[in-house]
């Protein structure tokens, strides 16, 4: 059910994150039952694309938090799970919808209120998307309009 992570990945290449940019890039993922359905990266810096190891590590951190999310999802009856994991000064916040679709955000933990508002807006967009009778639950989200809207919301709340 969960993505199985190869635990032998070494964490020695970590500290590069804090030196490259002032605001670390934010990664937003919508995860269904077995796999990510949608992803977008909010990069607040004007630097050229972050190095490969940084991007891969972002995904790794988010996916490794999935187990924690599953644990929380049965003990916490709320939707907004706040910070689920804390790795290298980066925090993973999760919003869980009624049908266990996980909105995961990797961020630097500066403004929690904005994160919460961001999740609420994306939640509304997601529910509207799922009202489309041609959108099958737990499939990849390919709608360009959805993508545009999420990016606009992200720009408004996260940078």
């Amino acid at each position: 059910r969960n993505v199985s992570i190869n635990q032998s990945i070494n964490q020695t290449n970590t500290p590069k994150m804090s030196t490259t940019s002032q605001k670390s890039p934010l990664l937003f993922l919508i995860v269904g039952r077995n796999e990510p359905l949608y992803e977008v990266e909010f990069d607040a810096t004007t630097n050229p694309a972050p190095s490969d190891s940084v991007t891969r590590q972002n995904y790794f951190v988010l996916h490794s938090a999935l187990d924690l999310v599953d644990l929380e999802s049965w003990t916490n009856p709320g939707m907004y799970l706040k910070v689920v994991d804390n790795v290298n000064h980066q925090m993973v916040s999760v919003f869980l919808t009624a049908s266990h679709v996980k909105f995961m955000l990797l961020h630097s933990g500066k403004n929690e209120d904005m994160v919460r508002n961001y999740f609420t807006e994306v939640y509304e967009l997601y529910v509207k998307l799922s009202m489309n009778p041609f959108y099958k639950f737990d499939t990849a989200i390919t709608s360009k309009l959805f993508d545009t809207r999420v990016r606009a919301v992200g720009r408004r709340y996260l940078s």
Binding site: W74, P77, G78, A98, S99, H100, V127, M131
Partner: protein
């Protein structure tokens, strides 16, 4: 997909706005549903296959209903207990789909993990008559598909029969 953004699914309001609630006529639903049943009936060879198809038609509806109702209730809470999700189904889901709450929710005496949601006049079979050669067929498989979808969505695997 969108004509200059007008009328796109992502633009329309999601909550119930008084005065703009769309009402679907009962006869429209009855006709549409009977067409659905006939469509599947012409493509299957057995009753159980027909019931299975109706169930899978309702399955997708279940997920969407779950998300929509959870959003509309504005509570930011998910159901994590069996009894609460069953009560949610027999009241909220029934009200939004059929206009009234289910007649009752009972726990079976024989099996500890079996529950019954009782509705005396289910919408799907009120206007259908089952000929004798189809025997045990129940057109409410569609509703059981919806319930199964809601339960599956909330994370409870279940087997639902009408």
């Amino acid at each position: 997909m969108s004509r200059a953004g007008a009328g796109s699914v992502l633009d329309r309001p999601l909550g119930r706005v008084r005065g703009t609630e769309t009402q679907v006529s009962l006869s429209a639903f009855a006709y549409l549903y009977s067409e659905l049943v006939q469509y599947h009936q012409s493509r299957v060879a057995s009753i159980s296959e027909l019931e299975r198809r109706l169930e899978s038609s309702g399955y997708g509806v279940g997920f969407k209903v779950l998300e929509l109702l959870a959003y509309r209730s504005r509570e930011s809470k998910r159901e994590t207990r069996i009894m609460s999700i069953l009560q949610f189904i027999s009241s909220s889901v029934w009200k939004s789909l059929f206009g009234k709450a289910a007649d009752s929710l009972e726990r079976s005496i024989d099996h500890a993990d079996e529950f019954m949601i009782i509705d005396y006049e289910p919408l799907t079979s009120t206007f259908l008559s089952v000929p004798s050669d189809l025997g045990q067929f129940s057109a409410d498989a569609y509703i059981s598909g919806i319930i199964a979808g809601v339960l599956e969505g909330a994370g409870f695997t279940a087997r639902v029969t009408a």
